[in-house]
Amino acid sequence: MTRSDVQLMLDVKAGDDASFDFLLQKYRSPLVHFLNRMVRDTATAEDLAQEVFLRVYRARKQYTPSAKFTTWLFRIATNLALNSVRDTRYQKLEVPIDAPTDSEDAAPRELPAREMRIDEFMVERDRAEIIRRAINSLPEKQRAAVLLHKYEEMDYFEIAGILDCSEGALKSLLFRAYETLRVQLAPLVTQPVERRAREGRPS
């Protein structure tokens, strides 16, 4: 019989380390994928993912199944990623301490790439890199929402739980994020069509 994540975590709480290993194997890849897309650094993403599991293990005795296990897990991961992104930003850039704090709508300051147009990046001919940069140019909370929505395929209720907002607020957040991506990635969307036209192939 397959045990649910909550049951596995309760078993970990009771002292069953094998259940922890099971959770580790089940969620290491989704966590590393998510964190890598959030922080855009493989080593940092791995380190943060390990930190997530470490925190889960530390908190096992106090665990109460009040929400889905994945909501709890990705909430820890999101908070760690957001802190890491902010820390890295302040290390990389000299940002005045009294500068306005970044809300979800504020333009992210850490990305010089944002100031460049997407068609300037086209010379790189690396579609994946362009897409990564476009995602990375989103404000942090919008980025987390898109990654959880698109790549982790979570439902709105769970993402709202992770990001600690209402479902309505999340829908607005996602709409603004996809609207930005729609504009930024427009050249990528039309490029295959133009290429096919140039090559004389039917679309």
Binding site: S29, R37, E46, Q50, Y57, V146, Y151, F175, L185, A186
Partner: protein
């Protein structure tokens, strides 16, 4: 429905998470609005373009590193098993202090009550014979002989000019 209202539901429409009622509303609007139809199509394209980003898998050493970090966690000392949390320990200490205070407080209060009772007893003893003392006082001050009219030395009453009798 207005375009603005529809646009917020377009993401759920494109990702297939809209419920049938929402879906039919958006369908009806898209059938009549070319602009929203184009935008929905663009969202759908963006959705598929995002799939082009490859995921980076964890390294082979990932699990080992997690276990290593768990093993490196400081072990709890034996007495910490009796004190599972600092906050709990503080609560227990406060509770014990409160218990001691509550137990001690009535005793000191009782002591003062005892003192008061002793004082009351003293007062009672003092007034117990008060009637006798009062009588004694009356009796000692009562000069029965002075109240008796002197039979041989009776003085004549003075008579005022108006015929009124006065006593000195």
């Amino acid at each position: 429905m207005k375009c603005e209202e529809v646009s917020k539901g377009l993401i759920a429409y494109v990702d297939g998470r809209a419920n049938p009622a929402e879906r039919s509303l958006v369908d009806a609007h898209l059938a009549a609005c070319a602009a929203c139809r184009t935008r929905a199509e663009e969202f759908r394209n963006v959705w598929s373009v995002l799939d082009e980003v490859p995921a980076v898998d964890p390294s082979f050493a990932f699990d080992a590193r997690v276990r290593q970090r768990i093993a490196a966690e400081p072990r709890r000392r034996w007495f910490e098993w009796f004190v599972p949390q600092p906050r709990l320990a503080l609560s227990v200490a406060l509770l014990m202090a409160l218990t001691v205070w509550v137990v001690k407080a009535p005793m000191s209060h009782l002591g003062s009550a005892n003192t008061a009772a002793a004082r009351q007893q003293e007062d009672f003893n003092a007034i117990k014979d008060l009637g006798v003392l009062e009588n004694y006082d009356v009796l000692t001050k009562f000069d029965a002989l002075s109240e008796l009219p002197a039979s041989g030395t009776e003085q004549p009453e003075k008579t005022s000019p108006g015929g009124q009798t006065t006593n000195d």
